[in-house]
Symmetry: C2
Subunit: 231 residues, 2 copies
DNA sequence: CATTTGAATTGATTTAGATCAACTTTTTTA
DNA sequence: TAAAAAAGTTGATCTAAATCAATTCAAATG
């Protein structure tokens, strides 16, 4: 992680993100002044579960995985963070520590905004607050879906759901499967790496997908959706 | 569920809840005008996963369980909703359908506020928005904890955590265990009813708790915390 | 009050998926 | 480019906890 120089052109571009549209010029100044731009390398941790969080991160460029950790070696991948999304929103206004971890899977360009600045803007600018609330709302929804997934679905359904999720972002990032390991995939499905490998092979045998080295080509999305629904 | 008559005394009392403190007189009027008071009987559903949600509920009196459902008969209990808490916050600004269900475990007095009114107030009154965001933040945090619980802990740890959670609200509601069935407990721990029964017996054998009919007396809270942490 | 219905209990059986172990392939790095 | 490390693969074994089945107990209801 390294802090980079200000670059106004860049900055203006960043603030075109939907949630910043509602800001007045003074509020933009407030964000600008309390913001730090940082660059992460592939493999770097953007956030570490349990550490102190006085800021919110905003992903400008690159991809990261958001995951929860147990004490030991086990991770569970929640989502892939894409440009225009926040990291750490959920922690910053309650506990002050990150409730999840995040690791860059490509080089990333991120900026950090102090939570005090965010709080100030929210209390001044209701429209901004409402747009944040919509994000919270969606995140909440996703978390409920995740809870249902891990509680009620078994291997096949989980893996199908994970594959569909990742395949969804393939159009924008065609090499997404190549940068994910089998363990990453397994952690998205919440199963062991060995089980993930076996499942993929069996899905290939049923011509639902094709394994080309690390890349995965979904051949029968409908079938996969069916498996995902059936659990 | 039955709609009850306005009662200003009651209403003023309700609006003493912390999150409403920030409202101006006009905003209070807005809430008042778009609000409906309802009474639920023990066993009634306050919200049903998947149904249309154009309003947020605010619990005035009584207790309810919030839970997620699978297609079939399985439920997982997320929390006990107490007076002063919202129901349906997470759904109302994104999908328009409840992402979970809720059932009254005592008679409840609730009021419903139209989401349009809530949205209006948020965009006008940043302080109110911020207080809502804090609630979202906390709910988010809890959901992450739940995900960790169901992913990484096994029977003993889950049951210990569930018991500690419920025991925490026993001071205010001494008969809380009596109104919960073994199945309710099992659904808090995310295990089968039979396993829950066996676990309780075994915890009793180890003098960690005492079973008096349906009531449960925690004898060794520290030990239980240890079990909960160990997973 | 008797009877039906639902909740709690217990032990026996089954199973999904983890873990383990051994090996191959790919990627790093010295 | 060789060797060491990491990732991927496969089949065998193990295990936590669900399911099943049978029964007791409690509570609701005509």
């Amino acid at each position: 992680m390294k802090t980079i120089k200000e670059n106004d052109l860049d900055f203006i571009c960043e603030l075109n993100a939907p949630c910043f549209q509602a800001l007045s010029p003074e509020e933009v100044d407030l964000v600008r002044s309390s913001r730090t731009q940082v660059q992460f390398r592939k493999g770097d941790n953007l956030a570490k579960q349990g550490t102190f969080a006085s800021y919110v991160m905003f992903m400008v460029k690159g991809l990261a995985i958001q995951y929860v950790e147990s004490d030991l070696t086990k991770n569970y991948n929640l989502r892939i963070i894409q440009p225009g999304e926040f990291i750490g929103l959920s922690s910053v206004f309650s506990v002050n520590t990150f409730s999840y971890s995040s690791v860059a899977i490509t080089d990333c360009h991120v900026f950090l905004v102090e939570k005090t600045a965010i709080a100030q803007i929210i209390s001044r600018n209701g429209t901004f607050g409402l747009s944040l609330i919509k994000r919270y709302s969606e995140q909440n929804m996703n978390l409920y879906d995740i809870i249902r997934k891990v509680l009620y679905k078994q291997m096949n359904g989980r893996m199908a759901e994970a594959l569909l999720y990742i395949n969804n972002i393939k159009p924008q990032y065609p090499d997404i499967f190549q940068i994910l390991t089998r363990k990453d995939l397994a952690d998205f499905a919440g199963i062991s790496t060995e089980s993930a490998v076996k499942l993929l092979k069996s899905l290939e045998k049923d011509s639902i997908l094709e394994l080309n080295g690390k890349d995965i080509e979904i051949l029968d999305e409908l079938k996969l959706q069916e498996i995902s629904k059936r659990g």
